[in-house]
């Protein structure tokens, strides 16, 4: 069942390729905007690169949260999922994983390319990609709660960001912190282990909370 829903959502994502690409292009554009605003001066950009890439990844993944449940909500498959004997949290975990595969992974693969744009040293690029790899699933999982809560509300998109941004802050701090640590030369594995901890905690709790919110929204 879990694989079925992941596979189904991936199929939907591939079929509607535009959604995936818009998130990716949004990420690229936002990251490329900063040098235009801050100036081409390299070591300034290098110093800000982790923060910029991470904030852009955060916003990009939040951009596509709205569609996580919206289409199923509109055409009624969400009600079927609620009624199905399968536990709802497994379904939500599947959807969040599909969302991460569709939006998170492209960001992770694109990050090194953008890192070069900021002249990041290679080890920093590696740590940046690793921290994004650990962080973006957490964004999708916590985002799933926000998306479930604001299902079918007017102005839902803005509301999701307002609900979910405060909860993203620890992930942002340790994600960007990991890259800054490697650039400062100090060891960064503490940050990554904390990101891993966030990942484990949100894998366990977020689907359960999102399932509860789905039941609340679908009453």
């Amino acid at each position: 069942m879990f694989l079925w829903i992941v596979q189904r959502d991936l199929l939907l994502a591939v079929r509607r390729r535009s959604d995936v690409l818009t998130t990716l292009f949004f990420f690229i554009i936002v990251v490329s905007l900063f040098p235009l605003s801050v100036g081409p001066e390299m070591n300034m950009l290098r110093m800000m690169a982790p923060g910029i890439v991470w904030v852009a990844a955060l916003l990009a993944s939040m951009l596509s949260l709205g569609r996580l449940f919206a289409n199923d909500y509109l055409d009624g498959t969400l009600e079927q999922m609620l009624l199905s004997p399968q536990s709802l949290s497994v379904l939500v975990l599947g959807k969040a994983l599909a969302h991460w595969l569709a939006t998170g992974v492209p960001l992770v693969m694109m990050a090194p390319v953008l890192g070069i744009q900021y002249d990041l040293p290679t080890d920093a690029l590696f740590v940046l990609t690793l921290s994004l790899l650990l962080g973006t699933p957490v964004l999708s999982l916590i985002g799933a709660i926000g998306a479930a809560l604001t299902l079918g509300l007017r102005g839902g998109g803005v509301l999701v960001s307002l609900l979910v941004l405060p909860l993203y802050i620890p992930v942002l701090i340790f994600g960007a912190g990991a890259v800054e640590a490697i650039m400062a030369g100090i060891d960064y594995d503490a940050h990554l282990s904390l990101l891993g901890a966030f990942l484990l905690v949100s894998v366990v709790f977020a689907p359960w909370a999102a399932a509860a919110s789905l039941r609340v929204s679908m009453e």
């Binding site: 604001t150 509300l153 839902g156 709790f205 929204s217």
Partner: protein, 247 residues
């Protein structure tokens, strides 16, 4: 004589109970306020280090404590409302949110006004100020989510979930911001811990803390009565109250 506490779980009886309690809390709050201000301004000595500016502490610390305490209380009532499906507890959580948000704003406002003479800037990315700011976002998130949902039952439950998720995140946010602050700035901005308090300063502050407790209870009960009326306006007991014009 076991008091039947459950009687007060029904909005109707709670409405009248709250009505009787509000004046009491309001009077106690006012009394404590006057005493606290008197101690704060007339008894407490001038601080050798900060001069007179430290007197802002008498509203800054109560506001900061109240903002955090009210969020936990709000999450508690929201959790009870979600678990036991008691509408009144969710109404209580909805009633607490604005007061909590106000105290958070006041903590930030008085904090920055106090920071200006002491640290020379209005805003310092100090761990406590930053987590207070994030707490304000959590409050605003809770209130806007509830405002966006028309059906009050769903609004209560959705708000309860975001409040509970928020309260779990508060320690995480606080420690990550604390850690983040120490990494970046180190101790460049020496934020004085609570200044070693002369006894009169401490008593003045504690009196103000209790005054803010009483005030919050009074305002929250007052707002919960209005929420009860809003939600129960179709019921018979409200119509009956309206008949007697004793609303």
């Amino acid at each position: 004589m076991a008091i039947n506490w459950y009687k007060y779980a029904s909005p109707a009886s709670f409405y009248s109970l709250a009505g009787k309690m509000i004046p009491f809390f309001a009077v106690v709050a006012f009394g404590l306020l006057v005493v606290g201000l008197y101690i704060g301004f007339f008894v407490a000595p001038t601080d050798f280090q900060q001069g007179e500016a430290y007197r802002i502490i008498f509203i800054h610390v109560p506001a900061a404590w109240m903002s955090m305490f009210l969020y936990v209380v709000m999450a508690f009532w929201a959790g009870i409302g979600l678990a036991f499906n008691t509408r009144l507890s969710s109404m209580m959580a909805t009633a607490i949110a604005p007061t909590g948000a106000l105290f958070t704003f006041l903590a930030l406002w008085t904090g920055s006004l106090w920071g200006k003479p002491m640290w020379g800037t209005w805003w310092v990315w100090d761990a406590r100020l930053t987590s207070e700011l994030i707490l304000l976002f959590l409050y605003i998130g809770f209130m806007s989510l509830q405002a966006a949902i028309d059906d009050s039952r769903r609004a209560d439950k959705a708000g309860a979930i975001i409040a509970l998720v928020g309260v779990i995140n508060i320690p995480i946010i606080y420690f990550s911001v604390q850690w983040w602050n120490t990494l970046h700035q180190g101790a460049s901005v020496s934020v004085t811990q609570a200044p070693t308090m002369a006894s009169t300063m401490l008593t003045g502050m504690m009196v103000m803390v209790f005054a803010s407790w009483m005030y919050s209870i009074a305002v929250i009960l007052k707002r919960v009565r209005v929420i009860i009326l809003e939600r129960e306006s179709h019921t018979a007991w409200v119509a009956e109250l309206r008949q007697k014009g004793v609303l």
